[in-house]
């Protein structure tokens, strides 16, 4: 109830863009505030270092700042929690500090990589990797295609845009 009142207090005055409001929205809807926990079995995306953009699974928690991780093509290593982004995926029933063979098998079996590719995070990452690996000519091709698409969209909506402009003329106020 307090959350509700606080939300409306700010929403009325500042509008729904107030930075706290999205948190209060969650409180009101009884949604969990956090879903991507650091835990053994959590699949993480590495965001820094030599293995950047690869997937790994948390094998053991050293302390609040450091984890032991391992993945397909990622050697078992100590990593700072700052250097990983937790995903929505968890490898089920992974015991703490399981041996390398077990972890690799469980990681493969859970299909974490495929599941991650389906998530918005995975899709965004795949897109940015693809964009990053384009050659100069391919970038030019993408530019041309985008130009054509925008032109087609503009052509389709031209009558509507014109009508809108006519019915909503820009009023220039001169003093």
């Amino acid at each position: 109830m307090v959350a509700f009142n606080v939300y409306h207090f700010f929403a009325e005055r500042i509008g729904p863009c107030y930075p706290l409001c999205f948190l209060l929205d969650l409180v009101q809807s009884n949604m969990p505030l956090y879903t991507r926990f650091i835990q053994v079995g959590r699949v993480v995306n590495i965001i820094n270092g030599d293995d950047a953009d690869k997937l790994a699974v948390v094998v053991e928690i050293i302390d609040q700042n450091r984890l032991l991780i391992e993945g397909a093509g990622v050697a078992r290593q100590v990593i700072k929690t700052d250097y990983v982004a937790p995903t929505d995926i968890v490898v089920p029933n992974l015991p703490r500090a399981a041996n390398s063979k077990f972890v690799k098998a469980a990681f493969e079996k859970s299909g974490a990589a495929e599941k991650f590719a389906q998530t918005p995070f995975g899709k965004k990452l795949a897109k940015s990797t693809l964009r990053g690996n384009l050659s100069d000519f391919q970038r030019h091709q993408a530019y041309e295609l985008k130009r054509k698409r925008n032109a087609a969209v503009a052509k389709e909506f031209r009558p509507e845009a014109k009508a809108h402009k006519k019915s909503n003329p820009i009023k220039v106020v001169r003093k």
Binding site: L23, I38, Q39, N48, I62, R76, Q77, V78, D82, P86
Partner: protein, 187 residues
């Protein structure tokens, strides 16, 4: 940045563990003097030798000028990818007196635990390297862990959120203006 290779590459760790063997110089009266072995943590072999004479001269009547170092060898962690609890017993000289301490750290290596110890002492007690004497560094079984801070990480079903995420942006990519408002809440 902290890949496995870099993390355990001895050249990048601040402290190293050395085993040093030395003895007083042989003399006419003592042709076969007693040999002493010591394991200590230091930044480099030269530093280690210096510490060796410092500790030895406090226990035995020898000094650097009348003794010799027979060997200095680095000790490497046998299982650098296994997480352990380390209990460290030490004494340190504070501004008012000398205090004995027991501290616990979770790490994969002894050297890592010692590194944590020196940063911790520098932060909490303002104790510098010169005023700290490590007495022992021992692996502690989960059931024997004493400190609450260490105990909380032993829960087999441990899980916690990352409530305040500040993503570091490489210097080359930093801009005065951003397309999106920065935030620290990332689920």
């Amino acid at each position: 940045m902290h890949s496995a290779v870099q993390m355990f590459d001895p050249s990048t760790t601040i402290f190293h563990e050395y085993q040093i063997v030395g003895r007083p110089n042989p003399t006419a009266t003592q042709p076969e003097p007693k040999i002493y072995k010591m394991v200590l943590f230091a930044k480099n072999p030269i530093h280690a030798k210096s510490r060796f004479w410092y500790f030895l001269s406090r226990q035995v009547k020898v000094k650097r000028t009348s003794g010799e170092v027979l060997s200095v060898s680095e000790i490497f962690e046998k299982s650098p990818l296994v997480v352990k609890n380390f209990g460290i017993v030490l004494r340190y000289d504070s501004r008012t007196g000398t205090t004995n301490l027991y501290k616990e750290y979770r790490d994969t290596t002894r050297v890592g635990a010692v590194q944590q110890l020196y940063s911790d002492l520098a932060g909490r007690y303002r104790a510098r390297f010169r005023s700290v004497q490590i007495i022992s560094v021992d692996e502690v079984a989960n059931k024997d862990v004493r400190r609450a801070n260490t105990k909380q990480f032993l829960n087999p079903k441990l899980k916690f959120p990352l409530p305040h995420r500040i993503t570091s942006v490489p210097k080359a990519l930093r801009r005065t203006y951003a397309q999106t408002r920065p935030g620290t809440y990332k689920h």
